[in-house]
Amino acid sequence: MAKKPKNKRRDFLQLSTVTLGAVGTAAFIWPFLKSMSPAEDTLAAGSTEVDISAIEEGQSITIKWRGKPVFIKKRTKDEIDAAKMVQASDLRDPQDDADRVQKEEWLVLVGVCTHLGCVPLGQKVSDMKGEYDGWYCPCHGSHYDTSGRIRKGPAPKNLDVPPYTFLNDNTIKIG
Protein backbone atom coordinates (compact mmCIF):
# COMPACT_ATOMS: atom_id res chain seq x y z
CA MET A 1 0.00 0.00 0.00
CA ALA A 2 2.96 2.24 0.51
CA LYS A 3 3.60 2.12 -3.22
CA LYS A 4 0.50 4.00 -4.32
CA PRO A 5 1.13 7.43 -2.81
CA LYS A 6 4.67 7.30 -4.16
CA ASN A 7 3.33 6.77 -7.68
CA LYS A 8 0.94 9.63 -7.28
CA ARG A 9 3.78 11.91 -6.32
CA ARG A 10 5.72 10.84 -9.36
CA ASP A 11 2.71 11.34 -11.65
CA PHE A 12 2.27 14.81 -10.26
CA LEU A 13 5.89 15.72 -10.82
CA GLN A 14 5.85 14.32 -14.33
CA LEU A 15 2.64 16.11 -15.26
CA SER A 16 3.74 19.45 -13.81
CA THR A 17 7.13 19.20 -15.55
CA VAL A 18 5.52 18.49 -18.92
CA THR A 19 2.96 21.27 -18.40
CA LEU A 20 5.62 23.77 -17.44
CA GLY A 21 7.69 22.70 -20.46
CA ALA A 22 4.71 23.15 -22.80
CA VAL A 23 3.84 26.57 -21.40
CA GLY A 24 7.48 27.62 -21.61
CA THR A 25 7.75 26.47 -25.24
CA ALA A 26 4.55 28.32 -26.16
CA ALA A 27 5.82 31.47 -24.44
CA PHE A 28 9.08 31.16 -26.33
CA ILE A 29 7.31 30.74 -29.70
CA TRP A 30 5.09 33.79 -29.18
CA PRO A 31 7.76 36.48 -29.92
CA PHE A 32 8.61 34.71 -33.17
CA LEU A 33 5.00 34.66 -34.31
CA LYS A 34 4.42 38.23 -33.17
CA SER A 35 7.48 39.44 -35.08
CA MET A 36 5.61 38.64 -38.30
CA SER A 37 2.80 41.11 -37.52
CA PRO A 38 3.05 44.65 -38.94
CA ALA A 39 5.94 46.54 -37.33
CA GLU A 40 5.50 49.80 -35.40
CA ASP A 41 6.62 51.98 -38.29
CA THR A 42 4.15 50.22 -40.58
CA LEU A 43 1.33 50.87 -38.11
CA ALA A 44 2.39 54.50 -37.80
CA ALA A 45 1.86 55.17 -41.53
CA GLY A 46 -0.02 58.41 -41.21
CA SER A 47 -2.67 60.38 -42.96
CA THR A 48 -2.70 62.09 -46.34
CA GLU A 49 -4.08 65.47 -47.28
CA VAL A 50 -5.49 65.88 -50.77
CA ASP A 51 -6.33 69.02 -52.69
CA ILE A 52 -9.61 68.34 -54.48
CA SER A 53 -10.20 71.77 -56.02
CA ALA A 54 -9.04 70.69 -59.48
CA ILE A 55 -11.41 67.72 -59.79
CA GLU A 56 -14.21 68.36 -62.28
CA GLU A 57 -17.67 66.91 -61.99
CA GLY A 58 -17.68 63.30 -63.19
CA GLN A 59 -13.92 63.08 -62.75
CA SER A 60 -12.09 60.78 -60.41
CA ILE A 61 -8.55 60.72 -59.05
CA THR A 62 -6.48 57.96 -57.47
CA ILE A 63 -4.16 58.75 -54.58
CA LYS A 64 -1.99 56.47 -52.47
CA TRP A 65 -2.81 56.06 -48.78
CA ARG A 66 -1.01 53.49 -46.62
CA GLY A 67 0.19 51.80 -49.81
CA LYS A 68 -3.33 51.35 -51.10
CA PRO A 69 -5.11 53.26 -53.86
CA VAL A 70 -7.90 55.57 -52.74
CA PHE A 71 -10.49 56.79 -55.25
CA ILE A 72 -11.85 60.32 -54.87
CA LYS A 73 -14.73 60.97 -57.23
CA LYS A 74 -16.84 64.07 -57.78
CA ARG A 75 -20.10 62.49 -58.82
CA THR A 76 -22.52 63.92 -61.38
CA LYS A 77 -26.19 64.52 -60.60
CA ASP A 78 -27.16 61.39 -62.55
CA GLU A 79 -24.70 59.25 -60.66
CA ILE A 80 -25.93 60.49 -57.30
CA ASP A 81 -29.53 59.84 -58.31
CA ALA A 82 -28.69 56.35 -59.54
CA ALA A 83 -26.97 55.58 -56.25
CA LYS A 84 -29.85 56.93 -54.17
CA MET A 85 -32.59 55.13 -56.07
CA VAL A 86 -31.42 51.67 -55.02
CA GLN A 87 -33.22 49.94 -52.14
CA ALA A 88 -30.51 49.00 -49.65
CA SER A 89 -32.36 45.81 -48.76
CA ASP A 90 -31.90 44.50 -52.32
CA LEU A 91 -28.13 44.57 -51.99
CA ARG A 92 -25.67 41.88 -51.00
CA ASP A 93 -24.04 44.24 -48.50
CA PRO A 94 -26.97 46.52 -47.64
CA GLN A 95 -25.96 50.15 -47.21
CA ASP A 96 -27.66 53.41 -48.17
CA ASP A 97 -25.73 55.83 -50.33
CA ALA A 98 -26.14 58.44 -47.57
CA ASP A 99 -24.17 56.23 -45.16
CA ARG A 100 -21.26 56.06 -47.56
CA VAL A 101 -20.67 59.78 -48.21
CA GLN A 102 -20.26 62.93 -46.15
CA LYS A 103 -21.10 65.33 -48.99
CA GLU A 104 -23.13 63.61 -51.62
CA GLU A 105 -21.10 64.78 -54.62
CA TRP A 106 -17.85 63.49 -53.07
CA LEU A 107 -17.35 59.73 -52.99
CA VAL A 108 -14.19 58.49 -51.29
CA LEU A 109 -13.35 54.77 -51.55
CA VAL A 110 -10.46 52.41 -50.92
CA GLY A 111 -9.83 51.18 -54.46
CA VAL A 112 -9.30 47.56 -53.53
CA CYS A 113 -11.76 44.90 -54.64
CA THR A 114 -13.17 43.09 -51.61
CA HIS A 115 -12.85 39.76 -53.42
CA LEU A 116 -9.13 39.17 -53.82
CA GLY A 117 -7.62 42.63 -53.64
CA CYS A 118 -7.27 43.82 -57.24
CA VAL A 119 -7.73 47.48 -58.17
CA PRO A 120 -11.06 47.86 -60.00
CA LEU A 121 -11.24 49.69 -63.34
CA GLY A 122 -13.40 52.80 -63.79
CA GLN A 123 -11.10 55.65 -62.83
CA LYS A 124 -10.34 56.67 -66.40
CA VAL A 125 -12.96 57.73 -68.92
CA SER A 126 -11.87 54.94 -71.26
CA ASP A 127 -12.08 52.22 -68.58
CA MET A 128 -14.76 49.59 -68.39
CA LYS A 129 -17.11 50.65 -65.62
CA GLY A 130 -19.22 47.51 -65.35
CA GLU A 131 -22.96 47.00 -65.64
CA TYR A 132 -23.78 49.50 -62.90
CA ASP A 133 -21.61 52.28 -64.28
CA GLY A 134 -19.33 52.47 -61.25
CA TRP A 135 -16.27 50.21 -61.15
CA TYR A 136 -15.47 46.83 -62.61
CA CYS A 137 -12.81 44.46 -61.28
CA PRO A 138 -11.06 42.75 -64.19
CA CYS A 139 -9.64 39.91 -62.12
CA HIS A 140 -12.77 37.95 -61.37
CA GLY A 141 -15.56 40.16 -62.72
CA SER A 142 -17.08 42.04 -59.77
CA HIS A 143 -19.36 45.00 -60.64
CA TYR A 144 -19.69 48.02 -58.32
CA ASP A 145 -22.26 50.82 -58.64
CA THR A 146 -21.86 54.61 -58.45
CA SER A 147 -21.72 54.36 -54.68
CA GLY A 148 -19.01 51.67 -54.80
CA ARG A 149 -21.43 48.96 -53.65
CA ILE A 150 -21.10 45.39 -54.84
CA ARG A 151 -23.88 44.51 -57.30
CA LYS A 152 -22.67 41.50 -59.25
CA GLY A 153 -19.74 39.06 -59.16
CA PRO A 154 -17.84 37.17 -56.47
CA ALA A 155 -16.89 40.05 -54.11
CA PRO A 156 -18.68 39.77 -50.76
CA LYS A 157 -18.63 43.41 -49.63
CA ASN A 158 -18.89 47.01 -50.83
CA LEU A 159 -15.71 48.94 -51.52
CA ASP A 160 -14.46 50.27 -48.18
CA VAL A 161 -14.88 53.92 -47.27
CA PRO A 162 -11.70 55.10 -45.52
CA PRO A 163 -11.86 57.45 -42.53
CA TYR A 164 -11.66 61.02 -43.89
CA THR A 165 -12.57 64.59 -42.97
CA PHE A 166 -13.10 67.76 -44.99
CA LEU A 167 -10.53 70.28 -43.70
CA ASN A 168 -12.19 72.90 -45.91
CA ASP A 169 -14.08 72.89 -49.22
CA ASN A 170 -10.94 72.15 -51.19
CA THR A 171 -9.02 69.73 -48.96
CA ILE A 172 -9.72 66.24 -47.69
CA LYS A 173 -7.63 64.58 -45.01
CA ILE A 174 -7.63 60.81 -45.37
CA GLY A 175 -6.74 58.66 -42.36
Binding site: M36, P38, G67, K68, P69, L116, P138, G141, P156
Partner: protein
Protein backbone atom coordinates in the same frame (compact mmCIF):
# COMPACT_ATOMS: atom_id res chain seq x y z
CA UNK B 1 25.40 -1.27 -28.30
CA UNK B 2 24.94 -4.78 -29.55
CA UNK B 3 28.35 -6.43 -29.58
CA UNK B 4 27.12 -9.13 -31.90
CA UNK B 5 26.19 -6.64 -34.59
CA UNK B 6 27.16 -8.01 -37.96
CA UNK B 7 29.44 -5.60 -39.75
CA UNK B 8 29.47 -5.84 -43.49
CA UNK B 9 32.94 -6.71 -44.77
CA UNK B 10 34.41 -4.98 -47.82
CA UNK B 11 37.74 -5.50 -49.52
CA UNK B 12 38.73 -1.89 -49.06
CA UNK B 13 39.95 -1.28 -45.49
CA UNK B 14 38.92 2.38 -45.58
CA UNK B 15 35.35 1.34 -46.35
CA UNK B 16 35.50 -1.15 -43.50
CA UNK B 17 36.74 1.55 -41.16
CA UNK B 18 33.78 3.78 -42.05
CA UNK B 19 31.26 0.95 -42.14
CA UNK B 20 32.17 -0.13 -38.60
CA UNK B 21 31.46 3.36 -37.28
CA UNK B 22 28.59 4.37 -39.56
CA UNK B 23 26.97 1.66 -41.71
CA UNK B 24 26.31 4.06 -44.53
CA UNK B 25 28.07 2.09 -47.25
CA UNK B 26 26.03 -1.05 -46.79
CA UNK B 27 22.95 1.20 -46.68
CA UNK B 28 23.74 2.69 -50.07
CA UNK B 29 24.64 -0.72 -51.46
CA UNK B 30 21.31 -2.08 -50.27
CA UNK B 31 19.12 0.84 -51.31
CA UNK B 32 20.79 1.91 -54.55
CA UNK B 33 22.84 -1.12 -55.59
CA UNK B 34 21.01 -4.33 -54.90
CA UNK B 35 17.56 -2.72 -54.60
CA UNK B 36 15.23 -4.92 -56.66
CA UNK B 37 13.18 -3.11 -59.32
CA UNK B 38 10.33 -4.94 -61.06
CA UNK B 39 11.73 -5.80 -64.45
CA UNK B 40 8.59 -4.67 -66.30
CA UNK B 41 8.93 -1.03 -65.20
CA UNK B 42 8.73 1.34 -68.16
CA UNK B 43 10.08 4.88 -68.55
CA UNK B 44 7.26 6.25 -66.41
CA UNK B 45 9.33 4.92 -63.51
CA UNK B 46 12.19 7.28 -64.33
CA UNK B 47 10.29 10.41 -63.38
CA UNK B 48 11.02 10.06 -59.67
CA UNK B 49 14.74 10.18 -60.41
CA UNK B 50 14.20 13.09 -62.84
CA UNK B 51 12.28 15.00 -60.17
CA UNK B 52 15.12 14.51 -57.68
CA UNK B 53 17.69 15.74 -60.18
CA UNK B 54 15.51 18.77 -60.99
CA UNK B 55 15.14 19.58 -57.28
CA UNK B 56 18.90 19.59 -56.85
CA UNK B 57 19.30 21.76 -59.99
CA UNK B 58 16.73 24.22 -58.63
CA UNK B 59 18.48 24.43 -55.26
CA UNK B 60 21.90 24.98 -56.83
CA UNK B 61 20.75 27.58 -59.39
CA UNK B 62 18.68 29.27 -56.66
CA UNK B 63 21.64 29.62 -54.31
CA UNK B 64 23.67 31.30 -57.05
CA UNK B 65 20.77 33.62 -57.94
CA UNK B 66 20.41 34.59 -54.27
CA UNK B 67 24.02 35.81 -54.32
CA UNK B 68 22.93 38.61 -56.65
CA UNK B 69 19.34 39.21 -55.67
CA UNK B 70 18.11 42.01 -53.36
CA UNK B 71 14.81 41.39 -51.53
CA UNK B 72 13.68 45.00 -51.28
CA UNK B 73 10.70 46.54 -53.07
CA UNK B 74 12.87 49.37 -54.44
CA UNK B 75 15.65 47.13 -55.71
CA UNK B 76 14.27 43.65 -56.38
CA UNK B 77 13.15 44.28 -59.97
CA UNK B 78 16.40 46.03 -60.88
CA UNK B 79 18.53 43.36 -59.23
CA UNK B 80 16.84 40.73 -61.38
CA UNK B 81 17.49 42.84 -64.49
CA UNK B 82 21.10 43.16 -63.39
CA UNK B 83 21.32 39.38 -63.10
CA UNK B 84 20.01 39.19 -66.67
CA UNK B 85 22.34 41.85 -68.13
CA UNK B 86 25.48 42.28 -66.05
CA UNK B 87 26.13 39.23 -63.90
CA UNK B 88 28.31 36.66 -65.67
CA UNK B 89 26.02 33.87 -66.86
CA UNK B 90 23.30 35.41 -64.70
CA UNK B 91 20.84 35.01 -67.58
CA UNK B 92 21.62 31.29 -67.68
CA UNK B 93 21.10 30.85 -63.93
CA UNK B 94 17.79 32.66 -64.08
CA UNK B 95 16.49 30.85 -67.16
CA UNK B 96 17.53 27.51 -65.66
CA UNK B 97 15.69 28.43 -62.48
CA UNK B 98 12.50 29.83 -64.05
CA UNK B 99 12.13 27.11 -66.68
CA UNK B 100 13.38 24.50 -64.22
CA UNK B 101 10.37 25.32 -62.04
CA UNK B 102 8.01 24.70 -64.95
CA UNK B 103 9.76 21.45 -65.88
CA UNK B 104 9.75 20.38 -62.24
CA UNK B 105 5.97 20.57 -62.33
CA UNK B 106 5.76 18.77 -65.69
CA UNK B 107 7.83 15.93 -64.26
CA UNK B 108 5.93 15.77 -61.00
CA UNK B 109 2.58 15.82 -62.80
CA UNK B 110 3.70 12.87 -64.94
CA UNK B 111 4.95 11.17 -61.77
CA UNK B 112 1.51 11.67 -60.17
CA UNK B 113 -0.31 10.49 -63.31
CA UNK B 114 1.87 7.36 -63.21
CA UNK B 115 1.03 6.76 -59.55
CA UNK B 116 -2.69 7.23 -60.18
CA UNK B 117 -2.98 5.17 -63.36
CA UNK B 118 -0.96 2.22 -62.10
CA UNK B 119 -2.41 2.40 -58.58
CA UNK B 120 0.87 3.05 -56.80
CA UNK B 121 -1.04 4.78 -54.00
CA UNK B 122 -2.71 1.56 -52.86
CA UNK B 123 -1.76 -0.81 -50.07
CA UNK B 124 0.99 -0.96 -48.88
CA UNK B 125 2.18 2.39 -50.29
CA UNK B 126 -0.48 4.76 -48.87
CA UNK B 127 1.93 6.65 -46.65
CA UNK B 128 4.26 7.03 -49.58
CA UNK B 129 1.42 8.66 -51.52
CA UNK B 130 0.61 10.97 -48.60
CA UNK B 131 4.23 12.09 -48.40
CA UNK B 132 4.11 12.71 -52.15
CA UNK B 133 1.03 14.95 -51.83
CA UNK B 134 2.90 16.84 -49.10
CA UNK B 135 5.80 17.38 -51.47
CA UNK B 136 3.36 18.61 -54.12
CA UNK B 137 1.85 21.10 -51.64
CA UNK B 138 5.29 22.33 -50.59
CA UNK B 139 6.25 22.72 -54.25
CA UNK B 140 3.19 24.85 -54.95
CA UNK B 141 3.92 27.04 -51.94
CA UNK B 142 7.58 27.39 -52.89
CA UNK B 143 6.86 28.25 -56.52
CA UNK B 144 4.29 30.85 -55.47
CA UNK B 145 6.77 32.47 -53.07
CA UNK B 146 9.49 32.43 -55.73
CA UNK B 147 7.23 33.97 -58.35
CA UNK B 148 6.82 37.02 -56.08
CA UNK B 149 10.55 37.73 -55.91
CA UNK B 150 11.15 39.40 -59.35
CA UNK B 151 8.64 42.05 -58.21
CA UNK B 152 6.99 42.50 -61.58
CA UNK B 153 3.30 43.20 -62.06
CA UNK B 154 2.35 39.51 -62.07
CA UNK B 155 4.52 38.92 -59.00
CA UNK B 156 2.79 41.69 -57.08
CA UNK B 157 -0.77 40.96 -58.11
CA UNK B 158 -0.37 37.20 -57.92
CA UNK B 159 0.85 37.62 -54.34
CA UNK B 160 -2.05 39.98 -53.62
CA UNK B 161 -4.70 37.60 -54.95
CA UNK B 162 -3.28 34.48 -53.28
CA UNK B 163 -2.76 36.09 -49.86
CA UNK B 164 -6.28 37.53 -50.08
CA UNK B 165 -7.56 33.96 -50.26
CA UNK B 166 -6.90 33.76 -46.53
CA UNK B 167 -9.14 36.76 -45.87
CA UNK B 168 -12.08 34.56 -46.92
CA UNK B 169 -11.79 32.61 -43.65
CA UNK B 170 -14.56 33.86 -41.33
CA UNK B 171 -13.59 35.97 -38.29
CA UNK B 172 -9.82 35.45 -38.30
CA UNK B 173 -9.25 35.84 -42.06
CA UNK B 174 -8.33 39.54 -42.21
CA UNK B 175 -6.04 39.28 -39.18
CA UNK B 176 -4.38 36.17 -40.56
CA UNK B 177 -3.78 37.88 -43.89
CA UNK B 178 -2.21 40.92 -42.23
CA UNK B 179 -0.02 38.64 -40.12
CA UNK B 180 1.13 36.72 -43.19
CA UNK B 181 1.90 39.92 -45.10
CA UNK B 182 3.40 41.85 -42.19
CA UNK B 183 1.52 44.84 -43.55
CA UNK B 184 -2.00 45.74 -44.67
CA UNK B 185 -1.09 45.00 -48.26
CA UNK B 186 1.75 43.28 -50.10
CA UNK B 187 4.83 45.36 -49.31
CA UNK B 188 8.47 45.24 -48.33
CA UNK B 189 7.83 43.15 -45.23
CA UNK B 190 6.07 40.62 -47.46
CA UNK B 191 8.85 40.49 -50.05
CA UNK B 192 11.47 39.99 -47.33
CA UNK B 193 9.75 37.08 -45.65
CA UNK B 194 8.79 35.49 -48.97
CA UNK B 195 12.46 35.47 -49.91
CA UNK B 196 13.45 33.90 -46.58
CA UNK B 197 10.79 31.21 -46.92
CA UNK B 198 11.51 30.59 -50.58
CA UNK B 199 15.12 29.91 -49.63
CA UNK B 200 14.34 27.46 -46.84
CA UNK B 201 11.36 25.49 -48.19
CA UNK B 202 13.33 23.60 -50.89
CA UNK B 203 15.46 22.07 -48.14
CA UNK B 204 12.28 21.00 -46.38
CA UNK B 205 11.16 19.45 -49.68
CA UNK B 206 14.50 17.70 -49.90
CA UNK B 207 13.93 16.19 -46.46
CA UNK B 208 10.43 14.98 -47.30
CA UNK B 209 11.76 13.53 -50.57
CA UNK B 210 14.19 11.52 -48.45
CA UNK B 211 11.27 10.07 -46.47
CA UNK B 212 9.32 9.51 -49.70
CA UNK B 213 12.18 7.47 -51.20
CA UNK B 214 12.83 5.60 -47.95
CA UNK B 215 9.14 4.68 -47.78
CA UNK B 216 8.99 3.31 -51.32
CA UNK B 217 12.09 1.22 -50.69
CA UNK B 218 10.36 -0.61 -47.82
CA UNK B 219 7.85 -2.46 -50.02
CA UNK B 220 9.57 -1.84 -53.34
CA UNK B 221 8.39 -0.04 -56.45
CA UNK B 222 5.05 -0.66 -58.07
CA UNK B 223 5.01 -1.64 -61.76
CA UNK B 224 2.77 -1.36 -64.84
CA UNK B 225 0.99 -4.61 -63.99
CA UNK B 226 0.53 -3.65 -60.36
CA UNK B 227 1.53 -7.08 -59.02
CA UNK B 228 4.13 -7.82 -56.38
CA UNK B 229 7.58 -9.24 -56.94
CA UNK B 230 7.39 -12.94 -56.10
CA UNK B 231 10.75 -14.40 -57.08
CA UNK B 232 14.17 -13.02 -57.99
CA UNK B 233 13.24 -13.53 -61.65
CA UNK B 234 10.64 -10.80 -61.40
CA UNK B 235 13.19 -8.10 -60.68
CA UNK B 236 16.49 -6.59 -61.75
CA UNK B 237 18.99 -4.82 -59.51
CA UNK B 238 18.85 -1.05 -59.38
CA UNK B 239 22.51 -0.99 -60.29
CA UNK B 240 23.28 -1.05 -63.12
CA UNK B 241 19.94 -1.62 -64.88
CA UNK B 242 17.75 1.15 -63.45
CA UNK B 243 20.62 3.58 -63.06
CA UNK B 244 21.40 3.28 -66.77
CA UNK B 245 17.74 3.53 -67.71
CA UNK B 246 17.30 6.64 -65.56
CA UNK B 247 20.42 8.09 -67.15
CA UNK B 248 18.93 7.66 -70.62
CA UNK B 249 15.77 9.38 -69.40
CA UNK B 250 17.87 12.16 -67.91
CA UNK B 251 19.62 12.73 -71.24
CA UNK B 252 16.29 13.04 -73.06
CA UNK B 253 15.06 15.42 -70.37
CA UNK B 254 18.26 17.45 -70.61
CA UNK B 255 17.73 17.90 -74.36
CA UNK B 256 14.14 19.02 -73.82
CA UNK B 257 14.87 21.55 -71.08
CA UNK B 258 17.96 22.87 -72.90
CA UNK B 259 15.88 23.52 -76.01
CA UNK B 260 13.56 25.70 -73.94
CA UNK B 261 16.29 27.41 -71.89
CA UNK B 262 18.34 28.36 -74.96
CA UNK B 263 15.74 28.84 -77.67
CA UNK B 264 12.53 29.83 -75.92
CA UNK B 265 13.36 30.92 -72.39
CA UNK B 266 10.28 33.11 -72.09
CA UNK B 267 7.78 30.69 -73.65
CA UNK B 268 6.24 30.03 -70.26
CA UNK B 269 6.77 33.53 -68.86
CA UNK B 270 4.16 36.28 -68.58
CA UNK B 271 4.92 39.52 -70.42
CA UNK B 272 3.40 41.58 -67.60
CA UNK B 273 6.08 40.39 -65.22
CA UNK B 274 8.64 42.46 -67.11
CA UNK B 275 6.78 45.58 -65.90
CA UNK B 276 7.83 46.68 -62.39
CA UNK B 277 5.20 46.14 -59.68
CA UNK B 278 2.69 48.98 -59.42
CA UNK B 279 0.31 48.83 -56.42
CA UNK B 280 -2.08 51.25 -58.11
CA UNK B 281 -2.64 49.41 -61.39
CA UNK B 282 -3.91 45.85 -61.75
CA UNK B 283 -3.08 44.10 -65.05
CA UNK B 284 -6.13 43.37 -67.18
CA UNK B 285 -5.75 39.61 -66.73
CA UNK B 286 -4.01 38.16 -63.74
CA UNK B 287 -2.70 34.82 -64.88
CA UNK B 288 -1.18 32.24 -62.57
CA UNK B 289 1.71 30.08 -63.66
CA UNK B 290 0.27 27.42 -65.94
CA UNK B 291 1.12 24.66 -63.49
CA UNK B 292 -1.17 26.17 -60.88
CA UNK B 293 -3.90 27.12 -63.38
CA UNK B 294 -6.19 24.07 -62.84
CA UNK B 295 -6.64 25.04 -59.20
CA UNK B 296 -7.09 28.69 -60.13
CA UNK B 297 -9.86 27.66 -62.56
CA UNK B 298 -11.63 25.88 -59.69
CA UNK B 299 -11.34 29.01 -57.54
CA UNK B 300 -12.90 31.20 -60.21
CA UNK B 301 -15.61 28.72 -61.16
CA UNK B 302 -17.37 29.30 -57.85
CA UNK B 303 -19.37 32.58 -57.58
CA UNK B 304 -18.72 32.80 -53.83
CA UNK B 305 -15.48 33.92 -52.19
CA UNK B 306 -15.29 31.44 -49.31
CA UNK B 307 -16.76 28.59 -51.40
CA UNK B 308 -14.18 29.10 -54.14
CA UNK B 309 -11.30 29.11 -51.68
CA UNK B 310 -12.58 25.99 -49.89
CA UNK B 311 -13.04 24.04 -53.12
CA UNK B 312 -9.62 25.07 -54.41
CA UNK B 313 -7.85 23.84 -51.28
CA UNK B 314 -10.24 20.88 -51.16
CA UNK B 315 -9.12 19.87 -54.65
CA UNK B 316 -5.62 19.31 -53.26
CA UNK B 317 -6.58 17.93 -49.86
CA UNK B 318 -8.84 15.30 -51.46
CA UNK B 319 -5.69 13.70 -52.91
CA UNK B 320 -4.60 12.69 -49.40
CA UNK B 321 -7.55 10.29 -49.01
CA UNK B 322 -7.48 8.80 -52.50
CA UNK B 323 -6.08 5.46 -51.20
CA UNK B 324 -9.21 5.02 -49.08
CA UNK B 325 -11.70 6.24 -51.68
CA UNK B 326 -10.57 3.57 -54.12
CA UNK B 327 -12.05 0.26 -52.98
CA UNK B 328 -10.59 -1.89 -55.77
CA UNK B 329 -7.76 -4.22 -54.83
CA UNK B 330 -6.43 -4.22 -58.39
CA UNK B 331 -3.72 -1.59 -58.71
CA UNK B 332 -3.03 -1.12 -62.41
CA UNK B 333 -5.70 0.47 -64.62
CA UNK B 334 -4.46 -1.85 -67.37
CA UNK B 335 -6.58 -4.50 -65.66
CA UNK B 336 -9.53 -2.22 -64.87
CA UNK B 337 -11.62 -1.96 -68.07
CA UNK B 338 -14.08 0.67 -66.78
CA UNK B 339 -12.08 2.76 -64.33
CA UNK B 340 -9.27 3.12 -66.88
CA UNK B 341 -11.44 5.41 -69.03
CA UNK B 342 -12.65 7.48 -66.12
CA UNK B 343 -9.02 7.85 -65.06
CA UNK B 344 -7.98 9.06 -68.52
CA UNK B 345 -10.99 11.37 -68.44
CA UNK B 346 -9.66 12.77 -65.17
CA UNK B 347 -6.32 13.61 -66.78
CA UNK B 348 -7.98 15.28 -69.79
CA UNK B 349 -10.29 17.17 -67.44
CA UNK B 350 -7.36 18.40 -65.34
CA UNK B 351 -5.65 19.62 -68.51
CA UNK B 352 -8.85 21.39 -69.64
CA UNK B 353 -9.17 23.07 -66.23
CA UNK B 354 -5.61 24.31 -66.58
CA UNK B 355 -6.37 25.66 -70.04
CA UNK B 356 -9.42 27.68 -68.99
CA UNK B 357 -7.60 28.77 -65.81
CA UNK B 358 -5.28 30.78 -68.05
CA UNK B 359 -8.18 32.50 -69.87
CA UNK B 360 -10.67 35.10 -68.62
CA UNK B 361 -13.43 33.61 -66.44
CA UNK B 362 -16.42 34.36 -68.63
CA UNK B 363 -18.83 32.77 -71.10
CA UNK B 364 -17.84 29.36 -72.42
CA UNK B 365 -14.60 29.24 -70.43
CA UNK B 366 -16.49 29.67 -67.19
CA UNK B 367 -18.90 26.92 -68.22
CA UNK B 368 -16.02 24.55 -69.01
CA UNK B 369 -14.44 25.38 -65.64
CA UNK B 370 -17.71 24.54 -63.86
CA UNK B 371 -18.18 21.25 -65.69
CA UNK B 372 -14.52 20.45 -65.02
CA UNK B 373 -15.00 21.22 -61.33
CA UNK B 374 -17.95 18.82 -61.15
CA UNK B 375 -16.00 16.04 -62.86
CA UNK B 376 -12.96 16.63 -60.64
CA UNK B 377 -14.86 16.11 -57.41
CA UNK B 378 -17.27 13.58 -58.95
CA UNK B 379 -14.28 11.47 -59.93
CA UNK B 380 -13.08 11.24 -56.33
CA UNK B 381 -16.37 11.07 -54.45
CA UNK B 382 -18.59 9.05 -56.81
CA UNK B 383 -16.70 7.37 -59.63
CA UNK B 384 -13.70 6.09 -57.69
CA UNK B 385 -15.62 4.40 -54.84
CA UNK B 386 -18.42 2.99 -56.99
CA UNK B 387 -16.54 1.78 -60.04
CA UNK B 388 -14.33 -0.32 -57.76
CA UNK B 389 -17.50 -1.92 -56.51
CA UNK B 390 -19.26 -2.80 -59.76
CA UNK B 391 -16.27 -3.34 -62.05
CA UNK B 392 -15.01 -6.82 -62.90
CA UNK B 393 -11.26 -6.53 -63.37
CA UNK B 394 -9.53 -8.56 -66.07
CA UNK B 395 -7.39 -11.50 -65.06
CA UNK B 396 -4.07 -10.53 -63.51
CA UNK B 397 -0.88 -12.31 -64.58
CA UNK B 398 0.38 -14.85 -62.06
CA UNK B 399 3.72 -13.09 -61.76
CA UNK B 400 5.76 -10.42 -63.45
CA UNK B 401 7.69 -13.06 -65.40
CA UNK B 402 4.36 -14.49 -66.50
CA UNK B 403 3.66 -11.21 -68.33
CA UNK B 404 6.72 -11.87 -70.46
CA UNK B 405 5.87 -15.51 -70.91
CA UNK B 406 2.62 -14.43 -72.55
CA UNK B 407 3.89 -11.45 -74.49
CA UNK B 408 7.30 -12.47 -75.67
CA UNK B 409 7.48 -16.23 -75.74
CA UNK B 410 5.43 -16.72 -78.92
CA UNK B 411 7.79 -14.48 -80.90
CA UNK B 412 11.00 -16.02 -79.63
CA UNK B 413 9.72 -19.53 -79.72
CA UNK B 414 8.26 -19.11 -83.21
CA UNK B 415 4.78 -19.32 -81.78
CA UNK B 416 5.15 -22.92 -80.72
CA UNK B 417 3.71 -23.90 -77.46
CA UNK B 418 5.85 -25.31 -74.74
CA UNK B 419 9.03 -23.44 -75.59
CA UNK B 420 9.99 -21.55 -72.47
CA UNK B 421 10.53 -17.82 -72.58
CA UNK B 422 13.94 -16.48 -71.53
CA UNK B 423 12.42 -15.62 -68.20
CA UNK B 424 11.10 -19.11 -67.71
CA UNK B 425 14.40 -20.61 -68.77
CA UNK B 426 16.02 -18.63 -66.03
CA UNK B 427 13.42 -20.10 -63.72
CA UNK B 428 14.50 -23.63 -64.54
CA UNK B 429 18.13 -22.73 -64.09
CA UNK B 430 17.55 -21.79 -60.50
Amino acid sequence: MDKNRKVHQFKNPVLNWIEFRLPIISYFKKEYGDYPMPKNCNYFWSFGALATITLVTMIVSGIFLAMNYTPHTDMAFDSVERIMRDVNYGWLMRYIHSNGAAFFFIIVYIHIVRAMYFGSYKYPRELNWILGVFIFLLMMATSFLGYTLPWGQMSYWGATVITNLFSAIPFIGEGLKTWLLGDYNVGNATLNRFFALHYVLPFVIFGVVGLHVAAVHVHGSNNPDGIDIKTNNDSVNFFPYMLIKDTVAMCAFGVAISAVIFFGPNLMAEVDNYIPADPLVTPAHIVPNWYLAPFYAILRAVPDKLGGVLLMFGAIVILFVLPWLDRSKVRSCNYRPIYKWFMMGFFVNFFALGYVGMLPAEGLYLLIARVGLLYYFGFFFIITPFVGWIEKPSKLPLSISDVYAKNIAPNIGGGEKGIPSPAMQKDTNL
